[in-house]
Amino acid sequence: MANKVVSVNPHVYAPETTTTIMRDVIIALCPAVVASVLFFGVRSLLVEAVCIAVAVLCEWGFEKICKRPVTIGDLSAVVTGLLLALNLPVTIPLWQAAFGALVAIVVVKQLFGGIGMNFANPAITARIVMLVAFGANMTRWAPAAFSGAPADTVTAATPLSIIAGINGVSAGTNTVADLPSLAQMFLGARGGSLGETSCLALLIGGVYLMIRKVITWHTPVAFIGTVLVLTALLGQQPLYQVMAGGLFIGAFFMATDYTTSPPTPAGKLIFGVGCGLITVCIRVWGNYPEGVSFSILLMNILNPYICRWTRSKPFGGVKA
């Protein structure tokens, strides 16, 4: 390159690039992928492959059409596709999964300017679009293998929909006896989306990300802690609430997205607490049994305001 541009100082060299960070996220998601295959069978790999392939293809195609630099090498489209797949039920028709990946990359990410410019998490938004568009397919949960469900069961309620049924929020004939044991919940032998069921696998991935300093503890701890405390106060079986639904995958992998969450520790804490608050409100009083994805999307929208409130003062700087 003949024309090198020197940017404004400070000139700090860091070995991390978008590619290395995204590679770490993919590595951290591997346990969840393994768990999804264990509990939901080989078709989960197919769903994941379709989502990733369509996401990368859409990114490449859109950038070619708009004559932008092609950024598929930074692996961010792979992460988006994988995260979306892990948020889908195993029985989802493949073309609907592909539609979700297209929405995530083209509508949510590229139309707003590509990586670093999107106002909301692409995977979360695409999941919500799919939930609204294909409501029936998005909530038809296959029972996990080894969950002890009778072999002829075609669908299985998620723990959260069982709880919603017990509370009388939604129509359901399930009772407390239908709830899986806490150990089953932790390992992931329950109904749910591909990657959200196994808290153990997600926890391994989350800890790996923290050790690699890709994410900090603030958002996940604030998010999960808020849900734990609030559901305990409301008498809503806090341990089930924390492990059920997409809370772990949301707290570790979605709410910590760099583009759509605050950079400062204080901002991260506010972001996490807000997510937890909205999640509990939707779960306890809302129409949907699960609120993690909505809570993250709503806090994504509040993110610019949180950033403004928590802007750190530069050393020696004066009040603006």
């Binding site: 509508v107 139309l111 679009v129 568009a133 409501g135």
Partner: protein, 228 residues
């Protein structure tokens, strides 16, 4: 600067398309474009009201005092809307129930009031009629495109005809409000791209075309110019 008759007629179809370029009357646009047949019905109703009101207001433009012009326009427009509503109720009850509230709401449709204020107010009868037809056709075409996209992908039908594969695999969000907004945004983007941003700009309106010119007092919308 006098425009040719043809330019006035075609003005509303692409260059100043009331929906996709001027962004007027978007509420019924988003609400009734779930079916292509609704789009045609609504488009015809709006075109009829627009044509009649433009002609009448153009006729009365030297009689109506500037200070009470808006109420006068509304009375003229409301008369024709009532007429349309009665006709549709009597001869096309199915369309009436499909359009629902949005039929009487044509009274407050920005396109009609906007054309009265911006065009019929200061042009002759023939020009005003041509402008109304052009704007009406532009509105109907935009409605038809939007409704076709939403109906084909959202319900898997077009004018009620079932489309083989899509009918079983519909994307129902397209017929809901969020899908409407998304398709609307994409259409505007495509029109902007296709016209290379040459579609009408704010400056071209000038102060004489601006509804709030009376209370504004500035000579130009560009603040620096006004200050200088």
């Amino acid at each position: 600067m006098k425009k040719s008759k043809l330019a006035i007629l075609t003005n509303g179809i692409i260059k100043e398309n009331p929906i996709l370029v001027l962004i007027l009357g978007t509420c019924p646009f988003l609400a009734v474009t779930t079916q292509a047949s609704n789009a045609i019905g609504m488009g015809l109703a709006v075109t009829f009201v627009l044509l009649c009101s433009n002609v009448i207001i153009s006729l009365l433009r030297n009689v109506i005092s500037d200070k009470v012009r808006i109420p006068c326009y509304i009375v003229v427009i409301a008369s024709f809307v009532t007429l349309v509503q009665m006709i549709v109720k009597a001869y096309a009850p199915a369309l009436d129930s499909a359009l629902g509230l949005y039929l009487p709401l044509i009274v407050v449709n920005c396109i009609i009031l906007g054309r009265a204020e911006m065009f019929a107010n200061k042009n002759g009868i023939v020009d005003s009629a041509l402008d109304a037809i052009g704007m009406g056709v532009g509105y109907m075409l935009a409605m038809l495109v939007m409704a076709s996209i939403r109906e084909i992908f959202g319900a898997g039908t077009w004018f009620g005809m079932k489309i083989p594969v899509l009918n079983d695999n519909n994307i129902s969000i397209m017929t809901m409000a969020p899908g409407g907004f998304a398709v609307f945004g994409l259409l505007i983007a495509i029109i902007n791209k296709a016209s290379h941003g040459k579609a009408i700009k704010k400056k071209e309106f000038g102060c004489e075309g601006c509804p709030s010119a009376g209370s504004c007092g500035q000579k130009s919308c560009d603040r620096k110019e006004a200050a200088a």
